[in-house]
Symmetry: C2
């Protein structure tokens, strides 16, 4: 045998699974063998779901979230407040915020954050479309809900400056960012210093 | 939205990945989105590798290992000792033993072990074909290399008894099992009592 694998077909399938993020070759083999034990129609259902996702998925024309239609259910909903736009990095963030049940506005999915290290510039993500949307649609509040990382902060600041320089950000537009602080249920003792420091600086009135 | 997902297509693909062993919905979403970011031909390579594996894979007629041919490379090799058969549970075990470079015989892949709890009986795994092979092929040694679990022990014992009752196991056939003991590099202090106890009982001559 040239390789560790008894079959080239098996090796190719393992190669594919092992190319996924966080999946090692041992795990990949386990997943492939588990699929191989299933009847053929179930394996077809697996590959079919992936193929039709790739072929038929669309990005919402307005917010750029993944969608089955040209405009996603959130952007086309009459129950949502279309004057409040929450700017997020990706699809998972929309899902996370939706699960909180605390937000009734709409989203704008950037599809990334500015990262000079990884060669992602402002033109690589959906910032221009965000600015266009804010100018055109009578948005009253932009909530910046990007990751609390250097890249997220850079992107927040870039968007803020662009809004300022375009003269869009006047008294009719609030620009906010999500609160950063001690996570609910966490001990202060185990909270990192930067977070704890900021949560003291940004303290709010106690409503007893 | 009826579900957490912005797209039914996305949800279906996540359902499929989350049906794999040890993959939760959050991991499944991450894997699906990572595939979605790839160009279409790469997604086709992914699904194609799985489809052709399922369609074209064969089980070696002799040892029942996965193979691209009717007889696997090990069973058809002239460099292997076809008088020594190592009985293993599954494909991964063949790969693990091959990687040691310590075995030059051939294999017999049972495809499972006897497990009354999971409804796996002797007729569900490749035991009859093993016995047939041993009767017909002039095997001189059968190495039982099944997991050191209750199910593995049960299967070892079942095979042994069948060999006895068929009158196959005479002085011309050795039946051995892999050594169980303290793993190489392990401290005795951290070795479980059963393993340590057995490794004392089954001590061998020191060849200094």
């Amino acid at each position: 045998m040239n390789s560790d694998y008894p079959s080239i077909l098996l090796e190719h399938a393992v190669d594919q699974f092992a190319s996924l993020p966080g999946v090692g070759r041992r795990t990949a083999l386990r997943l492939v063998l588990s699929l191989l034990r299933r009847p053929e129609n179930e394996v077809e259902a697996f590959t079919g779901a992936l193929s039709s996702l790739k072929r038929d998925i669309r990005y919402c024309r307005i917010c750029h979230n993944l969608s089955d239609q040209e405009v996603c259910p959130i952007c086309s909903s009459h129950r949502r407040d279309h004057h409040v736009v929450c700017v997020v990095e990706n699809v998972q963030d929309v899902m996370s915020i939706e699960r909180t049940g605390q937000f009734s506005g709409v989203y704008h999915v950037l599809g990334g954050v500015i990262s000079p290290m990884e060669g992602v510039g402002p033109q690589d993500i959906e910032i221009d479309s965000l600015l266009g949307r804010i100018s055109a649609e009578g948005i009253r509040e932009v909530i910046l809900a990007l990751p609390t990382t250097m890249e997220g902060d850079t992107t927040n600041f870039y968007i803020y400056r662009r809004l300022m320089s375009l003269g869009i950000a006047d008294e009719s537009l609030r620009i906010t960012q999500i609160a950063r602080g001690v996570a609910v249920g966490n001990e202060l003792e185990y909270t990192d210093e930067i977070t704890l420091g900021r949560s003291i600086m940004n303290r709010i009135e106690f409503k007893g």
